[in-house]
Symmetry: C2
Subunit: 233 residues, 2 copies
């Protein structure tokens, strides 16, 4: 055995609770990417012109590229990738049903703010997994410059009609609220995933103060993204 | 000037009719890829499970990857990519409206047979353009193994219920008929593109006999694809 606890699965994964937590985490992110694809492809229909439609289609495609990496990792761990995703269909689908954008701009804000929030959250959790898994998760959450496009379109729309800013600011708050509510639902249902955050005998975890600091970081980053769009948070 | 007529745009593109034809061809393929993305993303909703949905989403994403290459080439030629696509929205959208799949299997057959037919057709036309443009077109039409997935699913469905084969065979004929009808519409409207096929003083082209042979090749390849799916053509 030459594995170190940080680089190779075998040692860490001998703990079934740890393995279950990692499978959960990868399953949640993978299903999130798949449903982000569906939602972005759907929102692309609302694009005002072909150029904007192509941008959103490219964002959707990027999600599927990431999805493939996560699915591969799940298979490597001996998990059925689609079984791993199944428990997260309910909460993630509910999030999308409750935050269906009414127009193109709401779709853009959701893509930027919602994906940013989800990515921050998963990155926080990924701090508690082995290096290999963490790297795959970080890769899958990487943004490839499409954010600029959203910022440009939203800011331009506010210049044209400043009332748009008020409406989208409310929308951003609603996205945050709905995301927290679904995250809570997942936390209540997925014991292994929660155990990952709270740590174990041989694994560091978060106490309540640390969890509170994590929420502060998530909220601050959300506010930064809203500000980048020219919106109050 | 070190350009050869085969490798570099400048010489060939000094003929405005030739340039217009190439812009048309790239615009048609690019819009075709974009609308294939939309249609595949839409059809993915009908997938019986997450695994099949992921396969169709991956096919959709591949179209957008190709789209980006064509858009880049149009920009290199000094054309507005979205203006270049505009004339083909009507015929290509009409094709999709007239061939909206009623279920998952019709969607799969359309993805395989329809895209295959379009790819064959564009490859035939690409024989008449400069080497650089041709390479970009060939790359954009490359299949990356998703065909196996369609063949597998359609063949399995026919085993379960052989009547499915009769229905899908009719569907394949309808796809072919609708594709020809829209291709004819494009031919009637886009003079430069037609001129490309018929050749010029310094460019080889197709006479009527050659065009007839091209249709024979297209029909034969269509029949091969139908046979691969286990369907009569």
């Amino acid at each position: 055995m030459t594995d170190s606890p940080l680089s190779g699965p075998p040692l860490a994964f001998s703990d079934p609770t740890y393995r279950a937590a990692v499978v959960d985490l990868l399953g949640a992110i993978a299903y999130g990417e798949m449903s982000a694809f569906e939602r972005l492809a759907e929102d692309a229909k609302m694009a005002p012109d072909l150029e904007d439609k192509a941008e959103l289609a490219a964002m959707a495609s990027r999600e599927i590229g990431h999805f493939a990496g996560l699915r591969g990792r799940l298979a490597e761990l001996g998990a059925d990738p689609y079984e791993a995703m199944a428990p997260f269909r309910g909460p993630i689908d509910a999030f999308h049903v409750h935050t269906a954008p009414r127009d193109w701009l709401e779709g853009l804000v959701k893509a930027y703010v919602g994906d940013g929030l989800a990515a921050d959250f998963y990155r926080e959790i990924a701090a508690f997994v082995d290096a290999d898994t963490r790297e795959i998760i970080f890769d899958s959450l990487e943004d490839s410059g499409h954010a600029e496009f959203v910022v440009d379109r939203v800011r331009k729309a506010i210049v044209v009609d400043h009332r748009v800013g008020g409406r989208l600011a409310l929308w951003g708050r609603r996205l945050m609220g709905e995301a927290l509510s679904q995250a809570q639902r997942v936390a209540a249902e997925r014991d292994a995933l929660c155990a990952l955050l709270s740590g174990g005998v041989d694994r560091p975890g978060m106490d309540l103060a640390a969890i509170s600091r994590m929420f502060t970081r998530l909220t601050e980053n959300h506010a930064k993204r809203m500000a980048a769009l020219g919106l109050a948070s």
